[in-house]
């Protein structure tokens, strides 16, 4: 029984368009032009308990909108959604007590108070018993290594420290479902790594179902087995990360080290040259013709080394999202 079920979800926004300048503003004051932006356009997927799923896509792809609908923040235009058996936008208290959302760019911590005060407030909101509160807090604080900063005003914390506290505030009621929207945004590399480790540990230790959006591929690569790729409001891919390569990339990469110098024209017809830096040359060849081209290379030139590689996942996704070279 899936814990999250989304069926034919659509969310269209009416966005008001203003022509530039004063006259545009004046015209817009009397008559506004709207156009419907399809933020989410017929999206369906299922998530099982304990899964850690990466939700990826370029800016404006519809990731955050989907998460907001799943959290009950937005009403969909059409479609069905069930999270933990509830319809999110009905905002039932029982539902709200079982999930949490953390948005990298939206804080819930009180800015001019120590994070601990927000924790206390959340304890009351979620009706967590004093004992349970203490136990969970101790665990989370130890996992995130933030003992020293709980009593420091939030505004005096670094971004990394603040995100850790945001996570604690979101996890005090031990939610079964957790939505993380860009949790590593703006963090430095070390802090990003820490955050990732925590998310992974938390998922394994508590079997929480986690949906994570990010545009750092590294986050998704390290954390998620399954990814859902969304672009222009539609699902472009849903499956194991390793499958993306096979399913989407229609080419492989041949990197060759030549023994003798050659000129670029000699490689005509063997593949697209993407790097020419003798003795090393990198070629992009159609997936189906890889062995043929490799054989041709080996027979026509003195080759010292030849490697057949899958294209890097970042490149595949970038290509996918710019609409080029998509199978």
């Amino acid at each position: 029984m899936p814990i999250i079920e989304v069926k034919n979800l659509k969310k269209h926004f009416n966005i008001y368009q203003k022509e530039p300048g004063v006259s545009g503003a004046l015209r817009a004051f009397f008559k506004r032009k709207y156009y419907a932006a399809k933020a989410v356009d017929n999206v369906s997927f299922k998530v099982n308990e304990g899964e850690l799923i990466g939700f990826i896509g370029p800016n404006g792809a519809g990731k955050t909108t989907t998460l907001k609908i799943l959290s009950g923040l937005l009403y969909p235009t059409s479609g069905e959604v069930s999270v933990l058996g509830f319809t999110p936008w009905e905002r039932k208290k029982e539902f709200q007590k079982q999930f949490s959302i953390v948005m990298g760019q939206k804080a819930q911590l009180w800015w001019d108070l120590p994070a601990y005060e927000t924790f206390i407030l959340n304890r009351e909101i979620y009706e967590v018993s004093a004992e349970r509160f203490k136990k969970v807090l101790t665990e989370l604080v130890a996992m995130l290594e933030v003992e020293d900063i709980l009593k420091v005003q939030v505004r005096k914390l670094s971004l990394g420290q603040r995100m850790k506290c945001e996570l604690i505030a979101a996890l005090l009621h031990s939610p079964k479902v957790l939505f993380l929207d860009e949790p590593t945004i703006g963090l430095d590399v070390v802090a990003q790594k820490k955050m990732r480790e925590f998310i992974k540990d938390y998922n394994q230790k508590y079997h929480a179902t986690i949906l994570l959006t990010s545009h750092y591929m590294e986050d998704v690569k390290r954390l998620c087995d399954r990814v859902i790729m969304i672009d222009h409001g539609r699902i472009a891919f849903d499956g194991q990360l390793s499958e993306i390569v096979e399913e989407i990339a229609d080419h492989k990469i041949l990197s060759v080290i030549f023994q003798d110098p050659i000129i670029k024209d000699q490689l005509g017809g063997l593949g697209e040259v993407i790097e020419f830096d003798l003795p090393r040359v990198v070629l992009k060849v159609p997936r189906r013709e890889v062995s043929l081209r490799a054989a041709q290379l080996l027979s026509q030139f003195n080759v010292e080394d030849l490697n057949i590689e899958e294209p890097p996942i970042e490149d595949i996704i970038r290509e996918l999202f710019t609409g080029r070279d998509v199978a």
Binding site: F13, A37, A39, G60, G62, T64, T65, K68, S71, G72, L73, L74, Y75, R91, K93, E94, Q96, K97, F99, S100, I101, M103, K106, A107, Q108, W110, D112, L113, E117, I120, L121, E124, I125, Y126, E127, Q153
Partner: protein
């Protein structure tokens, strides 16, 4: 349920006290400012009303009582919900309501009481003192019945005052900026510091039955001045209930059209 909300409210107050204490100087300045403002207003009014024996049947001291009572309800409103609603407007503009909407507490309740203005206590107390001073020099009644009616009218007056704020701030969901509307409501509530009779018959009817401003301050004060009518209390309680329900319905209706920024 009620117990949960009382506990929750207590925590909100405590967090707010901690918050106010973080800025100790601010806290003290706040108190000085309100006390100073009150003293200046009193001197100013003494100068004006000292030359007028009565306005629309209200004596000088009765007017002082009404004025003090108005300060009191402003102070209470400021203490309990003014700042929360201002923050609410800001949060809407910046699309920051999201975190609040996911919380398992009553949304309207939480939005209304999140931020408390601690120093408003001083202005409420100053208002109470002025109210008391005015009453003492007037023909007041302190019978149990009058006090009970006064209590009921205070409660319903507060609820109407609060509902007006909810109404106005519901427009936030569409308008993004409601500063002008808020100023309007400040102005309207501000008219209650003078007796409705002073504005003329038509205005009096308007303030009693259309936008029931008279119910906020004049009705409770008149009760203690032995000038009330029998229907004040039931009427006021009924109206406050209607306002409370309608404003809540309207607020949630407006919330439906809220679409937070970005996507």
């Amino acid at each position: 349920m009620l117990k949960h909300y009382l506990r929750f409210y207590r925590t909100v107050v405590l967090v707010n006290v901690t918050r106010a204490m973080q800025y100790r100087l601010d806290f003290l300045v706040g108190i000085f400012a309100t006390v100073g403002w009150t003293v200046i207003t009193m001197v100013f009014l003494a100068a004006i009303f000292g030359k007028v024996p009565n306005i629309a049947g209200w004596t000088y001291f009765e007017l002082i009582a009404l004025l003090g009572f108005y300060r009191l309800i402003e102070g209470i409103g400021e203490f309990i919900f003014y700042r929360s609603f201002k923050k609410f407007s800001e949060d809407i503009r910046r699309g920051r309501l999201d975190m609040l909407l996911t919380k398992p507490v009553d949304f309207q309740f939480y939005v209304s009481i999140r931020f408390i203005t601690i120093d408003a206590i001083s202005s409420a107390l100053a208002g109470l003192a002025i109210f008391w001073y005015g009453l003492k020099h007037s023909a007041y009644v302190f019978t149990p019945a009058a006090l009970a009616a006064f209590g009921g009218l205070c409660l319903s007056g507060f609820l109407i005052h609060y509902s007006l704020w909810v109404f106005v701030h519901a427009f936030n969901f569409w308008l993004v900026k409601v500063n002008n509307l808020r100023n309007l409501i400040h102005g309207l509530v501000g008219t209650t510091r003078f007796p409705p009779e002073a504005y003329g018959r038509r205005a009096e009817v308007f303030m009693s039955f259309v936008i029931p401003l008279a119910l906020i301050a004049a009705f409770p004060v008149k009760t203690l001045l032995n000038r009330s009518e029998w229907w004040y209390l039931p009427f006021s309680l009924f109206i406050s209930l209607v306002f409370l329900i309608l404003s809540r319905k309207f607020f949630y209706f407006a919330l439906k059209s809220y679409s937070s920024e970005g996507g």
